[in-house]
Symmetry: C2
Subunit: 180 residues, 2 copies
């Protein structure tokens, strides 16, 4: 008779283990994985609708989101999306050439740059809005008035804990890398 093979748990905290097993945790992780793959698919479709790649669409809405009064810099945008700065430079330059984004020097620091969505970019996004509304209404169907605040709070805190977890994993992989 074959023995019941049990993997090492992928999570340690007692709160997240059920009867000492991580099955439920792993299922959750894979659901999140599939969810985030679908978010990416949807961004590709949104982009396609306005003639952009999924990444360009993501950059455009991220610039809109991060720009304050003055604009957002290349580095901040790269960090937000976990891209390399040269990649952000190259893709945002394309958006500038399309007239969707403006790139102006930061007056307080000539090395830096202010990225902002242009009027044309704003117009393009509002053209997309009806489709976004339909898709987002369905995408977030499980979120409704009674749990909205909780889900928003959860998204914010998961994002923060994920940032810490990236730093930890950098540290662990850097220092404890196996030598075989």
């Amino acid at each position: 008779m074959e023995q019941d093979i049990q993997f090492e748990p992928t999570v340690g905290r007692e709160d997240l283990l059920i009867a000492g097993k991580d099955d439920a945790f792993r299922e959750m992780v894979h659901n999140l994985l599939a969810f985030s793959a679908r978010l990416e698919q949807i961004r590709s479709r949104f982009g396609a609708f306005v003639g952009l790649s999924g990444v360009q669409y993501t950059l455009l809405i991220s610039i809109r989101q991060l720009q304050s009064e003055r604009g957002v810099g290349v580095r901040a945008l790269a960090d937000h999306l976990a891209f390399s700065p040269p990649f952000v430079t190259s893709e945002t330059t394309k958006l500038v050439k399309l007239g969707l984004v403006t790139k102006t020097p930061n007056p307080d620091d000539q090395r830096r740059v202010h990225l902002r969505v242009s009027d044309k970019g704003t117009a393009l996004l509002s053209q997309l809005a009806p489709i976004q509304q339909e898709v987002n209404d369905l995408l977030f169907e499980p979120v409704f008035a009674a749990n909205y605040a909780l889900v928003r709070q959860l998204a914010a805190s998961l994002r923060a804990s994920a940032e810490k977890a990236v730093l930890l994993s950098d540290y662990l992989v850097g220092t404890e890398r196996s030598d075989q």
Copy 2:
């Protein structure tokens, strides 16, 4: 005096609008976006620790997750992660060559294939487990006993609604594409 520019809301449902505005919704979406970018960063680190790319690591754990008694097929794996079947073929072939995965014909259908994590693959993953535990404990810090069931339920239902939303966006972009 500059007029208060307000974008078209990106979501329609009243439940998700606050005072008719989608600011909170957009903030949530961008938090989820950043969260999912960090999940990807962490998978790259996990992969690096055992000599794999982030995608190869993701494929390996997804095979482990989806394999039933017999194994999982190329198509099912591709759908799960939103990759093309040829890409899954090529990457899983690399994992087979590394001895981490087995690929055997499905006896019931000679066209199909059964992918399974090999003993060597299981060993590799259990070598990684201590690091996964540390990182996952921190990554999911906002999840604890009192909200665990709710978060798991949310992950499952968001994954399901996202699948529907992908189909809808395919339909909308395919049929309503602007002609300018």
